[in-house]
Structures are given as C-alpha cells and as structure tokens.
Amino acid sequence: MRRSGYFIGAVLAIAVAGMANSAMAQSEIKIGEINSYSLLPAFTDPYRKGWQLAVEEINAAGGINGKKLVVISKDDGGKPADAQTAANELVSSENVAMLAGTFLSNIGLAVSDFANQKKVFFLAAEPLTDAVTWSKGNRYTFRLRPSNYMQAAMLVEEAAKLPAKRWATIAPNYEYGQSAVAVFKALMAKKRPDIEWVNEQWPPQGKIDAGPVVQALAEAKPDAILNVTFGADLVKFVREGNTRGLFKDRTVVSFLTGEPEYLDPLKDETPEGWIVTGYPWYSINTPEHEAFLKAYQAKYNDYPRLGSIVGYETIKAAAAILTKAGSTDPEKLVEAAEGIAVPSPFGEITFRKIDHQSTLGAFVGKTALKDGKGIMVDNSYRKGSDYLPSDAEVEKLRPKE
C-alpha cells in the first residue's frame, strides 16, 4: 500500500512545482530556449555563451520595447521526447513568448510540430534538415541557419569546377548525412552530368570504424571525395585517411569542417586543401563581425565558434521579431517575422516570407595548416539568398496551409 502513498506524494510534488512557477513578473518578456546541452557540449557551450552575450546587449540597450528580456534555457538530452517535455514546460508553466533553439534535426522537427499544434512561435536555431522549412514546414516555425540544401549548393558551386570525374561519398548514416549526400548528388548532376559515383560509405553516427571505411574508399580510386562526417567521427576519419594516404592527390569537399568546433580538434592533423563550409572568425573584416568579436572576446576571453554566432543571432533575431510585433501573440509574431530584416555579424539577413528560412549564409574556403592548427583560407562569404531554389520550386515543397 505504500506505493499509493508514493504516488500521491509524487503527484502533489509535481503539482506544487507547477504552481510555484506561475507567479511571474509583468515587466519581462521570456524566450524559452531548448538545446542538447548535456549531449553535445562541444557545440552548445559556445552557443550558450553566444546567446548570453546577446541577452546582455539587448537589455543594456533598453530591452524589448522597455521590457526586460529573459531567456529560460532547458536541456533536451538529445531526445525528441524530452525536448517536447521541455517545450511544454516552457509554454505551459513559464509562459514564454516564443520557443527557440535546438540542434539535432529530429529534435527541431519535434519541437516544430509541437509549436504548430499548440500555436506557439518557434525559431529553430541550428537543425539543418530541409524538412524544417520545406516538406514539414509550418506557419509557426522559422529557421536561422543555412539549411542542408543551401550548404550543399554552396559546395557544389566549387565542386563542379573541379576536374574530378570519379566521386566517392562518406556520410553518417542518419537523416542529415543521407539528405546532404542526396542534395549534393542531385545538384552536381545538373552541373556536371559527366561525373560518376564510385563508392559510398555510411558509418553509424559516432561509431565509425575508420580503418576499413578508409580502405574501402581508397580501393574505389575516386578523384574526389564528399565528406559529411563531423565531430569525433571526422577526427578518426582524418587520422586514418592521413596515415593510409587516402587524401593524397585527391580533393575532398566537406560539409561543416571549417567550423572551429570541428576543425580545431584536428590540430596538426588538419588535411590541407579541403573545400569546406565554416566560420573563419580570424579573417572576417566586416565592421559587424569585428564588433561582435570584440564584445565576445571581452566577455569570455575566448574566441567564438560557429555555435556562438548561432546562439547570438538566434536571440538577436528573436528580439527583433518581438520588438517589431510589439506583442507576444503568436499570430502577430509570425506576421512580424515574415520578411523581417535583421542585422547579424555576417551582415543583414532576412527571414523569407515564402518558407520562413533566414538568408544567413556561410563561408566557403579551403583548409590549411598554420602553426600546427587548422584554419580556413581563401574564404568568401556566400549569402544564403543566392543558394535557394526558385519560389515556384519552394511552393511545391511546402505543404499547403
């Protein structure tokens, strides 16, 4: 019978915890933020620093229409179901004006579906899957980062110029890797009908057995390789590839590898001449970025990663939307967000009305070694707006409301 006692106790405890939160100040505007803090600290740590800096700046400049901006942050542990629990808590008990954040694609989709169901505004920060704005796009979801498609299009532009005819691919075996390869192949086929795909490797995410994979790729004798692995898998892949001479006389085109999160751990093993998307914070000379860099380094005594930019800009954009809407009504927020232009460290970006994708771009460059560290050289910023399909195509991709 004690079990019933426990049940009551637990239920009451939850009820009390729920009520305690309902007392809230009227002079604040709250944003609910969710990310995989415990699962992916390498990315989310700089990300959090980025948005904390943004909150500080916004409140120093008078907040949102005179109200103080507060960000309530929750960890989702890398699980879609837990992200929904967190989203629910933020919306039901914390009464946040909007949801923001998320890293993994499936979590982004889960929160986006929740937002659509509960009619809450959601600004997806990081998830790359095209589905967030296209096939599973909805009225309440916006996305900041350049999508899979956009990054693929940026890389294809460079890859198509290569003389290479025989291509091999390596990508983590989950949706992100699969769709990155699929989009890259489709876009390449349009520009270079003459190339052939000679091998593909699909190691499980986080569990690559690099030796056999590298050997299998080398055996196919490709002229060029498309890489989509990142994080610890990338390190193992690069190390085995270096030792086994896989990258000798071959060009590698690689998603995300120029981001400091993934490039810095490679240290002196960084392979040279890879064509990558990334964030060369050390060589961006625009006034917007210099201001950001100075503020970030002053506050944290550390250099920013791409996560810092994403975190910073997510909250900056969210604040701009809240300011423009002048209300926390989700419908008004959606109206305000559609087509809004906001400044960013990479220059002004726009949230497109047609698919709610921002036009934030990325840097494309080549990897190089300098003083035993990997850097990006020959960088150029690619505006997101230049790498999206035509409006007619987007119309077809998005479900009708």
Binding site: M1, R2, R3, S4, Y6, F7, I8, A10, V11, A13, I14, A15, A17, G18, M19, S22, S38, P41, A42, D45, D75, D76, G77, P80, A81, Q84, T85, A86, N88, E89, S93, N106, L109, D113, Q117, A131, K136, Y174, Q178, N199, Q201, P203, G206, K207, A210, P212, V213, Q215, A216, A218, G231, A232, V235, R239, E240, T243, R244, E261, P265, K267
Partner: protein, 628 residues
C-alpha cells in the same frame, strides 16, 4: 588481392581493440556475475587519463608509460568502486548491480566534461608507430600492426595467468561454481576485488590505446559498451578465447560487410549475435550453466494479494491522483500523463522480470512498436484515435509473439542479450526504412482527437489505463497462470515434473508483457504527437530496467514506485540542471547502497521486521540469510 589482405588486417586491428575491452568484461562477469554497465565508463576514463599523461610527458617513455600508468590509475579507481559500492550489493537480487554501474556511468559522463572540458581532444600519435607500411601499393598503419600483435599477446598472457597461476585456478573455479569456492574457504572478497581490478585495467588499457586513433570525447563509453557486451555474449560468457574469436568475427564481418552493404555497420553486431544465440544458446564457446542453486530469497516474503483495506487505500490514492487537474496546470498534467505511461511500461517489464524471472534488455522494442503501430495507423490509414489505441499495441503484441519464440529458449543474460538484439533490429528497421517510418526524423503530427486533446482529459485517460494495466497484471500474478509462471521461475525442473509447459508459459508471459508495453507506447505516441526511433532504443530499455530495479524486483508492483520516482526525478532534474546525469547517477548509487532490495523491497523488509513473525520462525530466516 592485396586490398583484401589489407582489409583483413585492418579488421584484425579493430578486433584487437574490441577484444581488450571485451576480455575485461568477460572476466568480471564470469566471476562476480556483475553485468558491469560501467565498463565503457572505465574505458573512457582510461582514454582521458592517458590523454592527460601523454600530453604531460613527451617521448616514447612518456607515451607508453603514460598509457600503462593511466590503465593502472583507472584500475585503482575500479578497486575503490568495487570495495565501496559493489561489495555491499553482491547479495542483492540478480542484475541489481547493473543499476549501480549504470548510475556510475551517468556520473562519469558528466564528470569527464567537467574535468576535461566539452571539446573533443586529439591525443598524440604513438612514437615509433606514426606512419604506414606499404603492402603491394596499399598502406597499413604501423599502429594497426602493433594492435594486431598486441591482441594475441594479451590473450596469451591471460591464458597463462588463468592456467598457470593459483589465482587463475581460483578464478576459473569461481567462474564455474562460486558457491563451492566460497565453501572451500577461499577469501571471496579479495578474489572478486582482484578480478574486478584486472577487468577494469584491461578496459582502461583498451581506452588508452585508442588515443592515437580516436578523438577523446565524452561519448566514448556508449560507443563501445554495447558492442563489447555483444562480443562477450557471442563468445560465451566468461570465455576469454570466445571473446577473442567473437571480436575477430564481428570486426571482419564489418570490414568486408561494408564493401557490399555500406549501411550494415549500424546493425551488424546484433544480427550476428541473434544468429549465434539462436543456433548456440550459450554463445560460441560458452557452456550450459549448471542449474543455479536458487537463493531462497524469493520465498522469504511470500507474495499475497492486497487485503481489502489496502485495496480501498489504493482506490483512494487513485482518486487523489485523478484530482490533479483541480490543482495542477497543463505542464503538471502532461508530466503526470508521461509518468502514468511509464508506470504502464515499467509494470509490463516488472511482470516479465519479477514474475517470469526473465530480464529483458530490449523491452523498448514493444513500447516503440506500439507507438509506431499507432502512428502508422493514424497517419497512413487515417483511423480514429480509439481504433488506433486499440489496434496499435497489437504491433507490440505481434513483435513479442515472434521474438518471444526464440527468446524464451534462452535464459539469464543470454535471454537478455537476445531481446536486446531483437530490439536493435527493430530499431534499425525504423531508422533505415525512411519511406515508411520517416527514418530518424520520425512520424510527426500524431495528435489526440478533440475529446482527449486537453491535458486533463489525456491525463485521466492515461492514469485510467495505467490503473487498469496494474490491476490486470496483478490479477494475472495471482491467477493459476501466474502461479505456473512463478513455479517455472523458481524451479523449472520441478515445474516441468508437475506438468507445466515452462517454455509456453514463459512465451505467454512475454507476449503479455510486450502487449502491455505496446499500450504504453501507443499512449506515448499521442502524448508527444510524434514517434521517433528513440522510442525503440537502448536507452529507453535501460530506463525501464532501472525503474524496475529501483522499485524492487522481488515485489509484486515495485515497478509502479520505481517508474514514478525515476521518471519524476528525471524530468525534474533535466529541467533544473545541465548536470542532470551527475545528480541522477549519484542518486541511483545512493539508492543502491541504501535500499539494496529496491525501494519497495526495502520498505517491505522493514515492515516485516517490525511485525511479529507469525508464519516463520526467526531462526529459519537467519539461516537462509547466511546461506545466501
């Protein structure tokens, strides 16, 4: 041809890394019977400590010395863990040690990030083994060659240790029959501690040796732990040679498998394990275990149905729980619904474990199948919610019926690992079959209909079904079927002698448990509005195990309390802190030490102690306890 030889050698190098870790696990399990979930954590610690040491001391001596010293340091940590934590719980019910080592693993995952920072760390290359050797135009890293040699060398050393030393004789004897070894006056405490130290040393050495190849990061433990378990089970528990052969088998199949099916790695080890266990129920080199001398612990507190007073109290508690919508907000209600769903899930596994004596490591399969059943019916067939809720769990039932046929042929850890293999196979189907299941992006938009959409209505629905599930399972426990199941659990031979068809009874129990888990999954799909492969995943299966163990295996309905405590705490901690794993892990370890029979089990023991002994003379109880 040269390519195939090089690919073979590469496979051998992977096998050597796997073998080092697997051999440690195999030794620990063989002697202490501990399912050491923390083995991966020790592996990871070995890599981190070795990273620090090799960065600190340069040169060949610094590197190789650092590797060995790292393994020794971690082995000492292992000794500490064994003496402080595990020694207290050797007499706890089977698998309870799993809970302790699970708690440790959670803590270590957060601790390494706190100590070494969140970034991936790149260790040094091994001095003298930086480059590659040219083999007819193919490159083999010289470090791979080193590992290829190291594997058999370690195997040889272990063989000598076990065959030629007194310690080895004792270890082998304990692996075969540890009660007899104890009866012969061997100091078991130190035998267990030393075995644990050797096992942890091997794990840490395996981790340390990875630093020239890998990036040291906080996910290393989960990367290896499951694969290592699988290797140990394929080889046969406690068999070092078996672990070696299995490691080679798995690695080579992977090395050549990816040439034909590049996506095979995700599931390969589980396919191999399922195939091996179906043909050889004790692994390649394992022997059938002698019928265990059952500790009479299970019979000390005979189960009994609730008295009428207790029933009234249960109904009152339920009524009180049903009053939550009067005081709680939407969030509290949704959390309440989630807890109720996990109560259903936990009691289904609890039924299988406590009543059937069958510990499943893959119970999430049936939960997830129920969820996918609902999602597919709702999205593809467009059926109404009631119909989906009724039909969805049938997918879980079907899955359990099919897999159960094979699973119940096995027992103990082999049974557990076969259920894990099936769960992983189902998971990989959901993960890979993008056209139907949406892959890891899942199925979205499975929201409840209007009548159940409000949080309070859904909450009532959930606790209503949870109450029905608990009642139904309790009725089954005290039905003739339940008695037959318990007879099969406690003494399969005697059960058969009185005409009980043990396997059929167990299969039926498996199907019942699977179906009830499917019901939980079906509700879960509507609660979350979406279904992802996570709901079939290992971590959910482990959560369920933890809930059952936390509640107490030797109880009738401990799962209820375990689920409420674990789930509520988990949700609360994840919401409050980024270090939820550290706190939760520490809490679990504390519970393990404080309540070695689980929460409910301990409360029952306390009550029985207070109550004057009516049915049993005290002397009998104490004699039984010493016998344990």
């Amino acid at each position: 041809m040269a390519f195939y030889i090089v690919q073979f050698l590469t496979g051998l190098a992977s096998a050597a890394s796997l073998f080092l870790v697997a051999s440690g696990l195999s030794i620990i399990f063989g002697v202490t019977r501990i399912v050491n979930f923390a083995h991966g954590a020790f592996y990871m610690l070995g890599a981190y400590v070795a990273f620090t040491l090799t960065e600190q001391f340069s040169g060949a001596i610094g590197f190789w010395g650092g590797i060995v010293v790292a393994a020794v340091i971690v082995a000492l940590i292992g000794v500490l863990v064994e003496m402080v934590l595990l020694r207290r719980i050797y007499h706890a019910p089977e698998l309870f040690q799993l809970l302790a080592t699970f708690g440790l693993t959670l803590m270590v995952e957060d601790l390494v990030v706190l100590i070494w920072g969140p970034s991936d760390l790149l260790g040094r290359r091994a001095p003298g083994f930086r480059g590659a050797v040219d083999f007819f135009g193919q490159n083999i890293p010289s470090y791979d060659l080193f590992l290829i040699v190291l594997g058999p060398v370690v195997l040889g050393i272990l063989w000598l240790l076990f065959q030629r030393t007194r310690w080895g004789v004792l270890v082998r004897a304990a692996t075969q029959d540890r009660d007899m070894v104890a009866a012969l006056g061997v100091n078991q405490k130190w035998l267990f501690t030393s075995v644990f130290a050797v096992g942890v040393f091997l794990a840490a050495l395996g981790g340390a040796l990875q630093i020239p190849r890998d990036a040291v990061n906080h996910a290393l433990d989960l990367q290896i732990i499951v694969d290592v378990f699988v290797v140990v089970v394929i080889g046969g528990l406690g068999s070092i040679v078996g672990a070696f052969v299995a490691a080679v088998l798995v690695s080579e199949l992977n090395a050549f498998g990816i040439l034909i099916f590049p996506k095979i790695s995700i599931i390969l080890v589980f396919l191999v394990m399922a195939a091996v266990l179906i043909v050889r129920p004790w692994g390649l080199f394992g022997k059938q275990e002698a019928p265990a001398r059952r500790t009479p612990g299970l019979t000390v507190n005979p189960w009994r149905p609730l008295t009428s007073g207790e029933r009234l109290a249960a109904i009152a508690a339920l009524a009180l729980a049903a009053g939550l919508p009067l005081v709680g907000g939407n969030y509290a209600l949704t959390v309440g619904s989630e807890i109720a769903i996990f109560v259903i899930f936990a009691v289904s596994l609890h039924f299988l474990m406590a009543v059937g004596g069958l510990a499943s490591f893959g119970h999430a399969a049936y939960f997830g199948l129920g969820a996918y059943g609902v999602a597919l019916l709702a999205k593809m067939a467009g059926l109404p919610m009631i119909v989906c809720l009724l039909l969805g769990p049938l997918l879980g039932c079907l899955g359990a019926a099919v897999f159960g046929v094979f699973a119940v042929q096995l027992s103990g850890v082999y049974f557990a690992m076969l259920t894990l293999a099936f769960a992983q196979i189902v998971w990989s189907i959901a993960f890979q079959w993008v056209a139907v299941t949406g892959g890891d992006n899942g199925i979205l938009g499975v929201w409840p209909e209007r009548w159940a959409a409000s949080p309070s209505h859904f909450y009532w629905l959930s606790i209503g079904i949870a109450a029905l599930a608990v009642i139904a399972l309790r009725i089954i426990v005290f039905s003739p079927f339940g008695y037959a199941l318990r007879a099969t659990r406690d003494s399969p031979l005697r059960g058969e002698a009185i005409g009980i068809d043990g396997k059929r009874i167990q299969w039926t129990a498996f199907v019942i448990a699977g179906t009830v888990a499917g019901i939980a999954g079906a509700l879960f799909a509507y609660l979350k509005g979406s279904v992802f492969p996570d709901s079939l995943g290992i971590s959910l299966s482990v959560d369920a195990l933890v809930m059952v163990l936390l509640g107490g295996v030797e109880t009738v309905s401990g799962g209820v309390v375990g689920a409420i405590v674990y789930k509520a705490l988990n949700i609360w901690l994840v919401s409050r802190t980024d270090l939820s794993k550290l706190v939760l892990g520490a809490f679990i370890v504390l519970i393990v030490v404080a309540f070695p029979k689980g929460i409910v089990g301990m409360l029952e023991t306390i009550r029985n102690r207070r109550r004057p002994k009516l049915s049993k003379p005290a002397s009998l109880t104490s004699r039984i306890e010493t016998a344990e």
